[in-house]
């Protein structure tokens, strides 16, 4: 039987790197001036104070045959996901969030100051991405000598956003960590991620984050 596990990390365990914030602000490697720098620092501090990093995960067997990917609980046909999971026997399904208060903080900032709203939004993105990377690094340790594939979310490649419904209901995410879907399949809190991570055979290391793997060369966030 498969059980959904709950994971919670403290704010100390999730770093919010300033260079990631700058990247999501569209600044690439440009340095901010003093005024912006202090706004970024203030936003990172505020977000850290209220963020609640929670995740739930489910480890499932997976079978990949051609373009068909079968998790037992559900199956789908996808060229990009089958490529991502090729050679995996198991996969981690997970959903992670920074919590409801973060959502309200973003909403408050949008009212009081658009500049702060934009910066906090970038901070929130940096935070949830960093949280997911931290989780995946820990899981990579846990599943050694196997190695983990880059995480893959509904909406990537040819995997439809519709898969959110299935994925989140398998994870019981609304009850366990408070991620719900809107009618148009967006997650709330917005600073949340749901994804599948293949557990590959030993020796086929893949970098968790590598822009070179992606063929969208005109992406403004490309590093």
């Amino acid at each position: 039987m498969n059980t959904v596990e709950l994971i919670e990390l403290s704010a100390q365990e999730v770093e919010i790197p300033p260079q990631a914030v700058r990247r999501y602000l569209g600044m690439g490697r440009h340095r901010p001036d003093e005024a912006l720098q202090s706004l970024v620092e203030q936003c990172v501090e505020e977000f850290r104070r209220i963020a609640r990093y929670r995740a739930c995960r489910l480890v499932l067997p997976v079978q990949v045959e051609g373009e068909k990917v079968d998790f037992g609980l559900f199956a789908l046909s996808s060229r990009s996901l089958s490529k991502n999971l090729a050679g995996c026997r198991q996969a981690i399904l997970f959903a992670a969030t920074t919590g409801a208060e973060g959502e309200r903080l973003l909403k408050r900032a949008a009212v009081t100051s658009p500049a702060k709203g934009v910066v906090l939004d970038a901070v929130g993105t940096a935070a949830i991405e960093s949280f997911c990377d931290t989780l995946c690094r820990r899981w990579a340790e846990e599943f050694k000598p196997h190695s983990l594939r880059p995480r893959f979310s509904p909406g990537y490649g040819d995997v439809p956003l519709e898969l959110q419904k299935t994925l989140l209901s398998c994870l019981d995410s609304s009850r366990k960590i408070g991620i719900t879907l809107t009618g148009s399949l967006l997650m709330i809190p917005q600073k949340s991620v749901s994804a599948m991570v293949g557990i590959g055979t030993a020796g086929c290391e893949t970098n968790l984050h590598d822009c070179q793997l992606c063929d969208k060369t005109d992406c403004p966030f490309r590093m």
């Binding site: 959904v4 001036d33 609980l73 658009p114 500049a115």
Partner: protein, 801 residues
């Protein structure tokens, strides 16, 4: 016996976990357990029978997720009614076949969360939510259940929708149980005190907590419920905390430990008990055996005067409560203009600023003669509770507006107000009975305002009696002994002050006062108002409606707390005084070296305070218009060009926009007669999309360039865009969408605009849009970024920006 008689007489036993048992019988993650009522009824009957035989009085139907979002009757899926009927049928069979007869065995209609979050944080409207729950309740009533158990709710707003649905569609007892974390908060923030306040206001019969925590953690939280609840308490813990062992969930509390802890729980006031995830009939059997001989703690009335928000409760009668008065258009031109433009953002800012100043509750009054007050008050309340966690005081003389606002309020509101006239009481008290609320009672009636304290007391007594007839207790009334200006009657203040202790002694009730009136017509009103406030506090005033920006009022408040022994070690006072000193110091050293390049430089560098100060200084000598044309606009142009050339980045562009706005506010103040607003532009994020950050950026810049922005927010239906475009007679509409999935609703909005507002131009933007997309859906212009929108607006209105 009936359900509530059982609860009154002794301990009422519920069942244990269902999900756990069904998983053991082969239920897979993601599979809908409710389907088993139809496909594998024998399993559901077996589980129900086991619980009845273990001693449960109430067993829950297997309908946790039985709502129309999942069971819509389409494509071969069953309807809500199909599922509920089958589930009740299973329990009827279980009850009939269980040993020990049918006496005191009840069927509880289980109502779980919908799995969608309510607006404004989520996208489900409150009334849609109520209707989804109502369908479940109606089906349950038709199928013949004995009570409704609303459980595992992790959001207070959704809980309220479910309770209202139960109350409006049945006469059944309603048990309500929420999920708390170890710190005692729901997932969306509410504390036990806040939930008890709201749920008692709504008339829940039993209140409590279930799931997520084990009995040990719940035992820590239970005293908080027991201290504030006048309603029987429900406790349904998990069998401890789950951990995964070889892919299987194992709970760490054994049946015997569970029973011991539950015994303590009964000693602490739990009266309705059972188990949640991980508990089985064995746990319940043990629980019944160990506790059925115990006498549960008596449920006593707590008589607290309390209001709540979606996070916390505010109790009156402990420390004085400050109610911020600034959300009110009376005498405020700028506020009236904002309301007419439906600029809810302006109202929100006013709310957040008062919270920062230390207000505990916000009064919300949006009454203007020519507006649709019920709709506007509801909008303001809904949006305020999306960003600000202070309880609200709903302030309107329009009963229809009051009802709508009370209904959608996320918590237990303060209701402002009722008076001693029969008309007022008969309009307001039924609403308070239904939705809950702490009512401000003005001590006046058809005869006017009594001139003596005794006269005002008599009106208060009349109001209290009438409230009692409606079933509203004295603790849910707070009396306003009315402050009238001393400039027309020298004795006015004394009469008010004498009324406060009289009402307290004679009625055992508390008083709240709108203090500002006292100084009407006098110079330096703050001096008089603040001293009067102190005098009233000394008489035992529990709350006051004040201007939290007034330094005199805050001085009076903090000094009073220190003098009255309500501020241990004077620590709050010391902090207040230190902040005050720091502020005064920075005001007097405002002669900091000026930013090298003056106002222009301050705006370019995004320094809001400097921009505002430099504008103020410049206005002493310069003409307002000169300042705009020679300093502010050129600065914006420099930044705008920098952004287009990629030497200035988005956050910097916005910081400059805010600095410019601050300078504009100063200019505006210097020319009060100016029309101040240019042509109107409607902005919206289209239906289905909740990302509004891009739209907010465009709004900030358009405002900088003098446009009057009508911001419709996010997730906006096409029809609403058209209506706003027509109402404000706009020539330009801006639409934003971030997701490919929402581009069709952008296309739909444009099509409707073309039909209904032929002369109107449409500019579109957002992450997924491209020139091709924009052409395809028939937009007039695709704007790659906010500056392009500003440039396009300039073209449309043939202005040289």
């Amino acid at each position: 016996m009936k359900v509530l008689d059982c609860v009154k007489k002794g301990i009422f036993y519920l069942d244990g976990g269902t999900g756990t048992l069904l998983q053991e019988r082969g239920l897979a993650p993601g599979e809908l357990p409710e389907l088993w009522n139809l496909t594998r009824p024998e399993e559901i009957i077996a589980v129900g029978k086991a619980y009845y035989e273990a001693g449960s009085h109430g067993v829950c139907t297997n309908t946790f997720g039985a709502n129309a979002l999942k069971f819509d009757g389409k494509d071969g899926r069953p309807t809500v009614e199909d599922v509920v009927f089958a589930a009740v049928d299973c329990l009827k069979k279980a009850r009939a076949s269980a040993e020990g007869g049918q006496e005191n065995k009840f069927i509880a209609l289980d109502v779980g969360p919908l799995g969608r979050l309510f607006a404004p944080i989520g996208d489900l409207s409150f009334e849609e939510g109520v209707e989804l729950f109502a369908q479940v309740i109606r089906a349950g009533v038709k199928a013949g259940v004995d009570l409704v158990l609303i459980e595992t709710m992790n959001d207070s707003y959704e809980t309220k929708a479910a309770v209202l649905a139960a109350k409006e569609n049945s006469n059944l007892p309603v048990f309500v149980s929420n999920v708390y974390d170890e710190s005692g908060h729901l997932m969306t923030g509410a504390s036990p005190e806040a939930m008890v306040a709201m749920l008692e206001g709504l008339g829940a019969d039993v209140i409590g907590l279930n799931c997520s925590l084990g009995p040990r953690q719940m035992l820590q939280l239970l005293p908080r419920f027991a201290a504030c609840s006048s309603t029987p308490l429900l406790v349904k813990p998990n069998a401890g905390l789950p951990r995964s062992e070889g892919g299987k969930a194992v709970f760490d509390v054994t049946p015997s430990e569970f029973v011991e802890l539950m015994k303590e729980m009964v000693g602490q006031g739990a009266r309705v008990v059972g188990g949640c995830c991980g508990t089985t009939p064995e746990y319940i059997r043990g629980l019944v055996a160990a506790t059925s001989g115990l006498t549960p703690v008596e449920v006593t009335p707590k008589r607290l005067s309390v209001v709540s928000s979606y996070t916390h409760a505010v109790t009156f009668g402990e420390s004085p409560v400050l109610i911020g008065e600034r959300i009110n258009p009376t005498g405020k031109k700028r506020f009236q203009e904002a309301l007419r433009n439906r600029d809810i953002g302006y109202v929100l800012k006013e709310g957040l600023a008062q919270q920062e100043q230390g207000a505990h509750v916000l009064d919300v009054n949006v009454g203007l003669p020519e507006i649709d007050e019920p709709a506007l008050l509801a909008d303001c309340v809904r949006e305020l509770q999306g960003v600000c966690n202070l309880p609200l005081q709903l302030d309107t003389s329009n009963p229809a507006a009051m009802e709508r606002a009370m209904r959608i309020y996320n918590g237990k509101p303060m209701v402002n107000s009722v008076n001693g006239s029969a008309e007022s009481m008969d309009a307001i008290f039924p609403l308070v009975k239904k939705y809950g609320g702490l009512v401000v009672c003005l001590t006046l009636d058809e005869q006017g305002i009594p001139e003596t304290p005794e006269g005002r007391l008599a009106v208060a007594k009349k109001i209290a009696q009438r409230a009692a007839e409606y079933g509203i207790g004295i603790h849910d009334l707070i009396f306003d002994p009315l402050a009238l200006t001393i400039s027309s009657d020298a004795k006015a203040a004394q009469v008010t002050l004498d009324t406060i202790p009289l009402i307290r002694q004679e009625l055992g009730a508390r008083c709240s006062l709108g203090v500002s009136n006292i100084s009407f017509g006098l110079p330096h009103r703050d001096f008089i108002t603040a001293t009067f406030f102190t005098m009233a506090l000394a008489q035992g005033l529990a709350a006051a409606i004040i201007n939290p920006y007034s330094a005199e009022m805050l001085k009076a408040y903090h000094s009073y707390l220190a003098l009255a022994g309500l501020d241990p070690n004077c620590s709050a006072y010391i902090q207040f005084a230190q902040n005050l000193t720091a502020q005064t110091a920075s005001a007097s050293t405002a002669q900091r070296p000026p930013v090298a390049e003056g106002l222009q430089g301050a705006i370019i560098r995004g320094l809001q305070e400097d921009a505002s100060r430099l504008a103020r200084e410049a206005l002493a000598t310069a003409e307002p218009l000169t300042l705009i044309n020679e300093e502010i606009v050129p600065a914006l142009d420099v930044v705008g060009q920098g952004f287009e050339n990629k030497t200035v980045f988005l956050p910097q562009l916005l910081m400059s926009a805010e600095a410019a706005k601050a300078a504009f506010e100063e200019v505006r103040r210097a020319m009060p007669a100016a029309e101040g607003s240019g042509p109107p532009v409607v902005l919206a994020t289209v239906k289905g999309d909740i990302h509004d950050i891009g739209k907010n950026i465009v709004k900030a810049l358009l405002e900088n360039y003098g446009y009057r922005v009508v911001d419709l927010g996010r997730d906006v239906p096409a029809q609403k865009v058209v209506e706003a475009a027509q109402e404000h007679k706009v020539q330009l509409v801006g639409l934003s969408a971030l997701m490919t999935t929402t581009v069709p609703s952008m296309a739909e909005t444009i099509a409707l605009l073309r039909k209904e507002c032929p002369g109107c131009k449409v500019v579109v933007g957002g992450a997924v849009l491209t020139q091709e997309y924009a052409d395809q859906i028939g937009a007039d212009r695709y704007a790659r970024n906010a500056m392009e929108t500003v440039r396009y607006a300039g073209e449309v209105f043939s202005r040289k920006d």
